[in-house]
């Protein structure tokens, strides 16, 4: 045991000497590993960031929420044309649902539309406009930054009031004077009564509340989308996560009644849940992860081949040295260890530098994604680089170890 440690130590010292003696070559060789490790760590960090962003985006929807909709978010068993032929959900359905449902914490209708939102000379195109009622906020996790959500009076009376998502507010009112100001939608002047707190979940696209505005649902029907053409979504919030299932069961029963379905007819509505979205996202992330790590893994592999190549050259070039070492008593194992540890040290140096670069890169990524280099990625990178060195150094080292001392000494 002691002699192995001794050989390891001496092997490492000899490796450092050899690496220092061939500086330029060592640096060039290391470059492959630096880039490889940098790519792997940066990629895994970015994926982690995307994952976190998705998760936080989804959770901003609220995990206790159900969305009763004409359309299903994930159409696994029902063909899309059947979904299309379903009867639209309308405000009447909503009213009847509200009057019958007992379990939900809050219920609110929502109707989506897209319009240009203007303030003076600034115009934002294709902004998601959600028409809803005063109790919408209670069905979400959204929090007001400034002002308030529109109240019952305003939503029942279809007043021209609007609540802005943080990003819309920033773009229309860069000076921060949005509250109490006016914006125009379809020629209508709407008063800004509130601004939402930033959610920061950019990946959620259409769902991103930062890039939305909220108006009374009547406004949407009146100016943007005729009620008879569109189908509303009924947002239902359960009091807590254990109540999600009972609320869902109740909702199905009520909706079947409201829609007048007989017992042998299938549901003509869908109850959507964040859970479905999560599993969908997780499988997408999984694919990104595998593809990303595979591609970056390839670059590491190419780096490893570079190491192997250079170690073969190094062994050939140092044939005479190997002969001398063997003549004065180096065993096969010693020579093997010397070259393996040399390539492991090169890789470890490269891995450490690559890791450092990845940490720097992660600060840049952090501007866009909520992420940082994970501690397990650090250990993984170090282990991977040592392993790469040992594996790619083995074949050249073995060639060196089994050289015949007489031939090696004669080599010029």
């Amino acid at each position: 045991m002691n002699s192995y440690l001794f050989e390891l130590k001496e092997g490492l010292i000899i490796s450092f000497k050899a690496i220092r003696a061939n500086k330029v070559r060592s640096i060039l060789t290391t470059l492959g590993i630096i880039i490889g490790v940098w790519a792997v760590v940066t990629m895994s960090t970015a994926i982690k960031g995307i994952d976190l962003a998705f998760q936080s985006g989804v959770s901003s929807l609220g995990s206790d929420n159900l969305y009763i909709d004409k359309w299903a978010w994930f159409t696994n068993d029902t063909p899309w044309w059947e979904l299309r032929n379903r009867k639209n959900l309308d405000m009447e359905d909503y009213e009847r649902f509200v009057s019958l449902a007992e379990l939900p914490l809050a219920v609110a209708p929502s109707m989506f539309s897209r319009e240009t939102v203007k303030h003076e000379d600034k115009a934002l195109e294709f902004i998601n406009i959600t028409g809803t009622t005063h109790n919408y906020l209670e069905t979400t996790n959204l929090v007001m930054e400034e002002g308030r959500f529109f109240n019952e009076l305003e939503s029942d009376g279809n007043r021209n009031v609007i609540v802005l998502g943080s990003e819309v507010n920033k773009k229309l009112f860069p000076l921060g004077n949005g509250l109490g100001n006016y914006v125009r939608v379809k020629g209508q002047k709407l008063k800004v009564v509130g601004i939402l707190e930033e959610q920061g979940s950019w990946v959620m696209g259409n769902f991103n509340p930062d890039n939305q505005v909220f108006v009374p649902i009547g406004f949407v029907f009146k100016y943007l989308q005729r009620e008879s053409f569109g189908s509303i979504t009924i947002n239902v919030r359960a009091p807590n996560s254990t109540m999600v299932e009972p609320v869902k069961e109740e909702a199905i029963g009520i909706m079947r009644r409201v829609r007048g379905l007989s017992y042998d007819q299938p549901d003509d509505f869908s109850i959507n849940q964040q859970e479905g979205l999560l599993s969908e996202i997780n499988s997408t992330i999984g694919v990104i992860q595998i593809a990303g790590l595979f591609i970056t893994g390839l670059s590491l592999f190419v780096g490893a081949i570079g190491i192997m190549n250079i170690m073969f050259v190094s062994v050939k070039e140092r044939t005479k040295e190997i002969g001398i070492r063997k003549a004065i008593g180096a065993k096969r194992r010693t020579i093997l260890g010397q070259f393996i540890s040399e390539s492991a040290v090169i890789c470890l140096l490269g891995g450490t530098i690559g890791l450092g670069l990845a940490v720097l890169t992660s600060f840049i990524i952090n501007q866009f994604l909520p992420t940082a280099v994970q501690i397990d990625a650090v250990f993984l990178a170090i282990i991977i680089s040592i392993l790469t060195g040992v594996l790619s150094g083995f074949a050249p080292a073995y060639t060196a170890a089994k050289m015949d001392p007489v031939d090696a000494l004669r080599y010029e």
Partner: protein, 241 residues
């Protein structure tokens, strides 16, 4: 006691379909503290014999006992241990590690025999001191003259306190004067009690030894004591101990 006892060894190489007998049938004994020169023209089998004597190679046939141990059938690693502990090599081309300083070159065999740092440093310094290079320890081979390089090589051969010192044309790459100095060092080492085997093709160098073994066509042609040994002059070279 014989340090080297060789009985009927042969070394046969397969070159294409032909068998080449580099050594046909060689037997010889060398005692402790002998000073032997092995001579022969190129192609005589002299180098093959030296490789076998130095445990760099094993004979195809025959018995080789080194310090009473049969080494003819040993494997690579066992031979490495013998070379490391029992044999000091001195080569014509010095064979020092070019990127390491003199001290590291000399301590290298001790690294391979697992001697701890401080002890091997001390021993390497002592060996370099013996050959008069105490002030050149941190010099790399290309910063040393030919004679100094060969003295580093001799220090490396001495440092393990080996049973034999095997010198292959040690003066072949040196001028006459420097060669003379190196031969004087061997003379002093012999007087100290070391066993020295000198491989050379130069009559004059061989006559420094006490016994000359001549090889021709893979056989021992003659094995005779030297009557008029060449006396070496110190020229200021001495063994410090």
């Amino acid at each position: 006691m014989n340090i080297i006892n060789i009985e009927h060894i042969a070394k046969i190489y397969q070159v294409g379909s032909e068998e080449v007998h580099a050594l046909a049938d060689v037997s010889l004994k060398i005692d402790k503290n002998e000073y032997v020169a092995i001579m022969g023209p190129s192609g005589s089998g002299k180098s093959t014999l030296m490789n076998i004597l130095g445990c760099l190679d094993t004979p195809t046939k025959g018995l080789y006992e080194f310090t009473g141990v049969n080494v003819s059938d040993m494997n690579d690693n066992e031979l490495a241990v013998i070379r490391n502990r029992q044999i000091g090599f001195v080569f014509q081309t010095f064979n020092l590690l070019p990127r390491s300083d003199a001290l590291h070159n000399v301590e290298l065999p001790l690294i391979y025999s697992g001697i701890p740092y401080q002890e091997r440093r001390d021993r390497a310094k002592e060996a370099l001191g013996q050959v008069g290079l105490a002030d050149r320890m941190d010099h790399k081979p290309n910063e040393l003259s030919g004679g100094q390089r060969q003295r580093v090589a001799i220090a490396r051969a001495l440092v393990t306190d080996p049973s034999i010192i095997l010198a292959d044309e040690p003066t072949g790459n040196l001028d006459t004067k420097t060669g003379e100095d190196i031969m004087h060092l061997f003379h002093l080492l012999h007087e100290q009690g070391n066993t020295i085997i000198l491989v050379t093709h130069e009559e004059y160098i061989a006559e420094h030894a006490a016994r000359i073994i001549r090889i021709r066509d893979g056989l021992i042609e003659s094995d005779t004591p030297v009557v008029n040994r060449v006396e070496t002059k110190s020229n200021g070279i001495s063994l410090q101990s």
